[in-house]
Symmetry: D2
Subunit: 284 residues, 4 copies
Amino acid sequence: MQTTLLKISCPDQVGLLARITNFIAQWGGNLTEVHQFTDAQDAWFFARMEIQTQTLRCRLDELRNAFAPIGMELQAEWSLRPAEARPKVVLMVSQLGHCLADLLWRWRSGELAFEIPCVIANHDTLRPLVERENIPFHCIPVSRENREEAFEQIEMLWREASADLVVLARYMQILPADICNRWSSRVLNIHHSFLPSFVGANPYQRAHQRGVKLIGATCHYATPALDEGPIIEQEVVRVEHFHSEQDLLRLGRDCERLALARGLRYHLAERVLVRGNRTTVFRD
Amino acid sequence: MQTTLLKISCPDQVGLLARITNFIAQWGGNLTEVHQFTDAQDAWFFARMEIQTQTLRCRLDELRNAFAPIGMELQAEWSLRPAEARPKVVLMVSQLGHCLADLLWRWRSGELAFEIPCVIANHDTLRPLVERENIPFHCIPVSRENREEAFEQIEMLWREASADLVVLARYMQILPADICNRWSSRVLNIHHSFLPSFVGANPYQRAHQRGVKLIGATCHYATPALDEGPIIEQEVVRVEHFHSEQDLLRLGRDCERLALARGLRYHLAERVLVRGNRTTVFRD
Amino acid sequence: MQTTLLKISCPDQVGLLARITNFIAQWGGNLTEVHQFTDAQDAWFFARMEIQTQTLRCRLDELRNAFAPIGMELQAEWSLRPAEARPKVVLMVSQLGHCLADLLWRWRSGELAFEIPCVIANHDTLRPLVERENIPFHCIPVSRENREEAFEQIEMLWREASADLVVLARYMQILPADICNRWSSRVLNIHHSFLPSFVGANPYQRAHQRGVKLIGATCHYATPALDEGPIIEQEVVRVEHFHSEQDLLRLGRDCERLALARGLRYHLAERVLVRGNRTTVFRD
Amino acid sequence: MQTTLLKISCPDQVGLLARITNFIAQWGGNLTEVHQFTDAQDAWFFARMEIQTQTLRCRLDELRNAFAPIGMELQAEWSLRPAEARPKVVLMVSQLGHCLADLLWRWRSGELAFEIPCVIANHDTLRPLVERENIPFHCIPVSRENREEAFEQIEMLWREASADLVVLARYMQILPADICNRWSSRVLNIHHSFLPSFVGANPYQRAHQRGVKLIGATCHYATPALDEGPIIEQEVVRVEHFHSEQDLLRLGRDCERLALARGLRYHLAERVLVRGNRTTVFRD
């Protein structure tokens, strides 16, 4: 069964859901999953709908054309795409392989549906893990001196790969602000703390020093302000006095893997709608 | 702001959501919260909608009359009621007061909106806790001999109280099957295990003997088959080898309180839709 | 069965546990629970032991006298007390009653063993809840002008009550630094965020604005630096985009209640050992 | 820093901990981690101690000889071994690779310290995943007809590999009872439900039908009674009405991976002590 995904966000008004569902019904579309949320504080409408593709009486481009004037009138951000399209996702890594290995397994097993045009790293450590999957691996070291060119080169690789999304899978470099802006809501990061606790470097060390009883990980979109982008998913795990900083690193890895995999899953299935610094996530 | 709640469950068909939202839009109703779920396996449609009452161009009884033919055509179970109505909830208890005390606090503070026409117990232990809140307390002991009359008397009290719901807040008696049937989906029970583990008596003792690493509690509707009714909410807590059976009782109390309070909350706000032995719970 | 509690913390050295357990064995003491932790980073030893009182061949004061020279030699902080002693705990509240009601229930039911000499508040709101339990209630309003005298009066009440511990059960005033210092490790606070996130005022509002997917509560000892004291217990709950700030308050209440009740439980049973800004908590 | 592990379980008596810690102190051993638990109900003593190897004034075999008479007198089950020894673990799999891939990653990265002499499967599906790690892979199909010989062959492979432990990483065959008995507490299984719920086949399907709100996974030792062996670790995840059986499988995989990895970790570090059908797990 093929599915067409409609994602829409716009100012709220009376009859909005009726109008959209009418439009779909009018083209014969059978809805198999509908999520809708109205932010009352902001008077903003968010929705995601799954439409059975074969019930539609037109091709996708025709449906898009038919919806365009409505979208414009509603001042909506919207998209219509086949659920079967496999987004192209570039993975960025440094030396820690746990998130990478986890994503590779979910990709290879088909649990997550996406393509990996290439993996980019600032160290060569993880090359074997990547190349044995027949995925191109680019090592682009980043230093204080070459930072600007390095990121030019990196962004060029993203473009050449026609990347729909970039995932920073424990990539230990801070992206330049202009790249964050150009790729807004298209760069996913995993931060190794439950934000807003421990923004920045060495969160596990600081968590250990602070003596917290819970540590966590946060999957969010990268923005120019470090670790302050819209949060998609967070995971925590209980820790105790006998856990050393090394133990926190170990326990945290399982949080990071899970939070990143879930955040990526929601993004790939068009389940994340961003407005300002908050996300609406229609989880599955 | 007043709100009207529509709850509906019926066989799925194309255009169903459009039809219902159109109906509401046609009467001027502004939707502030919409939840919809289609069970694909079963082709069944479930929805709950919050409508701003003052935007409606008719009274509630007129709206009900207008919707009746649609509901019949769709072979739907449906209800339309003001969110502000405070359901009448009879509480049933034995000797353990933790769930009762928790519900009384949530009731008194207004966190949960309902009325308590009376509390019924099979022991006199909790009378002071109830009467100091100016709630009538009925003690109806149940023994093997008087079981039948006792439950006749109990059911009569429910009727006299015009109970919309009965909550078994650690009431340690099994309800007669015919009462469960007559009050189907209107008797909420809290069972002190994460069902289907440890159905029946002494679940904590059996959990301790089995050496499980997690214990829990389950809020479900009572049915004639003991502890097998539709589950609304479950809570768990981690336990370790050093926890005695007494510790399990203690830790379990916090699970029971939470699972019951959440289950009751969802029921009161028309967020629970039952079909067969499964529930759709549009949580808030 | 009566129990004597030994709590000790000192610099680590070889044979320490042998030495202490020998001492107890020598006096006939049967150990029923032993917790020991060595902080390797710091070379510091922490232990808590439960001794069956009737197996001891001496009275508690004699045991204390016998241990004193060992304690001195080890440069230890230590205490020996009967588990049955019920510490005197003064509760401090403002207008929110959920933590107070929860503690009152656990106190009345005997789940937590302590005495409440009085409750002190800066508003009169919760007086009925307290007085119906026959507990003295003192209302001492605190304003910018009378702050100094108010806290003098409050501390005097603590002294008159021979308080072993003070619990800030959502008391919305900041204690003066000198009081925090004088009552170090004897003032328990519940903060309504998972620290170190959202230190200070209005954490739920800020959590909502930040769009976090988990909120929580932290039970910690009060220190002069606001919300920076040693953490004893933390609880979290998952939140979603559809949860308003009001929903966060509601969900957070259950976290606050639990974290405070657990933190208090550990403190009362001498299960918390503080060193610097970290706690060792031998949970039960 | 090298470490010697002492694990001991025996009937409780006064002075037991003193006696054992004295013994270690007498040989110069510095304790870096001590866990002790007395099961009061059963009067049974469990302990695990980490001793700094270089502080010991004798070799391990001498220490064992010196402890032997004490162990005999105490009627203890005990072991003394270097923490650095890497146990040999045979992995058993069928067609699902998520647990296998997870264990391989934790093994390769050094997070878990063990050797994998071989992987045995009843299908050939996972051969590539194993052989690219340069681990021998044996495919031994099991049918109703060849069951006896197949398991003879399998047990022979375990012996040839000098297996210290066997891990059933979603191996979909039931082991013969006599093998379970011979390898008691040396076969680790991961069951895809939170036991004792859904013993046996198709737990996710049955969980979906029952409409539970939490699913889970259980790591336990295999015994002749199916899914009834001593539980080491359990993990759960919340599910909702919109999760299909396929979604449960997906969400459950993350529970299975975690529960198995943690259970294995505890076993490898001698942190699990079994008595009857219960485990004492000194978690790290």
